[in-house]
Amino acid sequence: MKTLMRLRGKRIVGFLLALVIIIILGYGVEWAGLGVAGLVETGLLAMTPLALAAVGECINQKSGVVNIGLEGILLITAVTGVRGAELFGDGYLGLLTGLLMGAVIGFLFGIVSVYGRADQVVAGMGINLFALGFVPYLLMAIWAFPGIHIFPPELKVHPMYTPFGQLNAVTILAIIVSVLAHVLLHKTLLGLRIKAAGEKPEAVDVAGVRVDRIRILTSTLGGALCGLGGAFLSLAWFGGMVKEISAGRGFIALACVVFAGLEPLLALAAAFIFGFAEGFAFSVAVTPEIKRVMPGAFYFVNMIPYVTTLTVVTIAIGRRRFPSASGKPYTRE
């Protein structure tokens, strides 16, 4: 009980700290001559891929599949999304292409970790390393230009104008998905089975449900959500593709998952905090004001998302309990 209190205390301190950071950043933004509304818009843009990747990872980690290859999936699907948009001539179909590509990678990862009985952390890192080379290779092989590709602006997924400012449809979808994931995990039979597959795979097996199928399903789902996030990066946010477009976001999403203790709604909250920090850095970095006053500050502003992630995770982490069969392959006796 005491430890539980301490844990909760830590989490509250974490949230308070995040709030303080957000307020300070808000003032900083006013100083730099940016509107808070614009900042929230950028923050929500930055939140979207983080939330999608993190919520997907929450689901597959609940079932016992740990995929640290999010960074690589974001990178690969950012390219495939652009390619899809160009082939089909539509930004939304590009997003769909990214989602499908993510699902394929998630499915393969599921097969590899379930039937290949792989060391999941190593295999996930393999995805990251693969993407590091494969994405620049694709950029050269498809568009014959090194490291960067700008697609026609009419393919960009534009935000909608709502009473709350500019909002992207995918951002709303990401919030809905987080809520749905919460419902899936806590209110449905499938959710119960997913959680059991991560805690006591033997019990699931005895109950006549295939552990392997559940894990492959969640891994595919996690990959698909991450893939949508990757395609969002290039198609809806940056309007182009660079070979380091993910810039550590896959790992920031992992930090969200750790922070959230595998709860999708908490992961969404974490994604908002980190997205906000990133949106701040992004908005400030492009302000001419800052370059005039302190030319070197640009590089320190770029560090903000990473420092925020480290700080929040460190203070809020406590001792999280993760599924006991997490990352372990399951074989029937």
């Binding site: 590899v112 290949g116 393999g126 995805i127 990251n128 080379g133 560090m303 420092v307 480290l310």
Partner: protein, 349 residues
């Protein structure tokens, strides 16, 4: 008396070879998809990497930093850590080598040594925050080391542009002074005497791990934490030691590209001449079965891919980045302990 015997690691060799073959095959598949000729590509890659003596020496020059960044990852695994922070620690090492090698004047012999040591120290210092967060706060090192890599990336560029830039040439830092440069070993290749320091470091880590009490405790803490605790091994000390040795290795890797790699003898402001060496080291470590000596051979293999990849790009037009993708594929294949068993079963049938 402890007896040093050289075991012949047959099983790991077979596993690594199978994984490498899978990586190369899937790489060929990606070439076919985009209309390249994989046989010609691999032929020019292989001939470029190992076809002549100068090319082979150049391959070793490419392999040099990877032997070290592989150790950073490997010694982490030996202690039960997944330390992927070599990338950032290596940037700091490069900065350290530039700062002492390019901005300070010292007597000839001392200068090289001072630049090398300072680079290693900076690398180790950069590994400390992640070690602290892991030991005291329980923050997983996969997240923390990546965050520190990105912080180091921006920090190193900042230092390179604002404090260490070569006057009149904003695209790179001050070059290392001749007194801080390791001598070249060959006119036609960029290998320098830094390779001897690197090899000595690798062998040193090997002897430490398998020849000393501390090394035994390090490995025990990694393979069997419970037994280690029972034997009175302090797990936090072992983690700290593992991070620090990894930091030394990565720092030296960064230095090797500044004071041990002609013709630039300096760091590009984009970090272009060191970037991804830390991540490549992860793959090299895994191919070398997380062993310092295995890492040397794996690094030569990967150095061959990296050097030969440039010929492949020139001759056949396949982007040399594909080599990095193949590295990832090999890692994925290595994560599958069952493949070997499956293949063996198929062969027996």
């Amino acid at each position: 008396m402890r007896r040093f015997e050289i075991p012949v690691p047959v099983r790991p060799l077979v596993q690594s070879s199978v994984a490498v073959s899978i990586g190369l095959l899937v790489g060929a598949l990606f070439m076919i998809i985009f209309g390249y000729d994989p046989i010609r590509a691999y032929y020019s890659l292989f001939m470029g990497a190992f076809g002549s003596i100068p090319d082979f020496v150049e391959t070793i020059a490419f392999a040099t930093p990877l032997m070290l960044t592989a150790i950073t990852f490997a010694i982490g695994v030996k202690t039960g850590l997944f330390n992927i922070g070599a990338e950032g620690q290596m940037y700091l090492g490069a900065i350290g080598a530039v700062a002492v090698g390019g901005a300070i004047t010292l007597p000839a012999g001392l200068h090289v040594a001072a630049a090398t040591v300072f680079a290693m120290l900076l690398g180790a210092i950069w590994s400390l925050p992640a070690a602290f967060l892991k030991i005291r706060m329980g923050v997983h090192e996969v997240v923390s080391t990546i965050m520190f890599n990105w912080i180091a990336f921006h920090f190193a560029i900042y230092l390179a542009i604002y404090y260490l830039a070569e006057p009149g040439r904003a695209e790179r830092t001050l070059p290392a002074l001749p007194s801080a440069q390791y001598p070249r070993l060959m006119e036609e290749a960029t290998l320098t005497a830094v390779i001897f320091v690197v090899l000595a470091f690798c062998i040193g880590v090997y002897v430490l791990l398998w020849g000393t009490r501390v090394g035994y405790e390090l490995r025990l803490a990694g393979t069997n934490p419970d037994a280690a605790r029972y034997a009175g091994v302090s797990s936090w000390r072992m983690m700290l030691l593992s991070f620090v040795i990894g930091g030394f290795a990565a720092g030296l890797a960064g230095a090797s590209q500044i004071i041990g790699r002609p013709p630039a003898w300096s760091l590009y402001a984009t970090l272009g001449n060191v970037i991804t060496l830390g991540f490549d080291g992860i793959g090299v470590a895994l191919i070398g079965r997380n062993h310092p000596i295995g890492g040397i051979f794996a690094a030569v293999f990967y150095g061959g891919l990296a050097h030969g990849g440039r010929y492949m790009e020139y001759d056949v037009g396949v982007s040399s980045e594909l080599v990095r993708a193949i590295n990832g594929l090999i890692v994925i294949a290595l994560a599958l302990p069952e493949i070997i068993a499956i293949i063996r079963r198929r062969l027996k049938r």
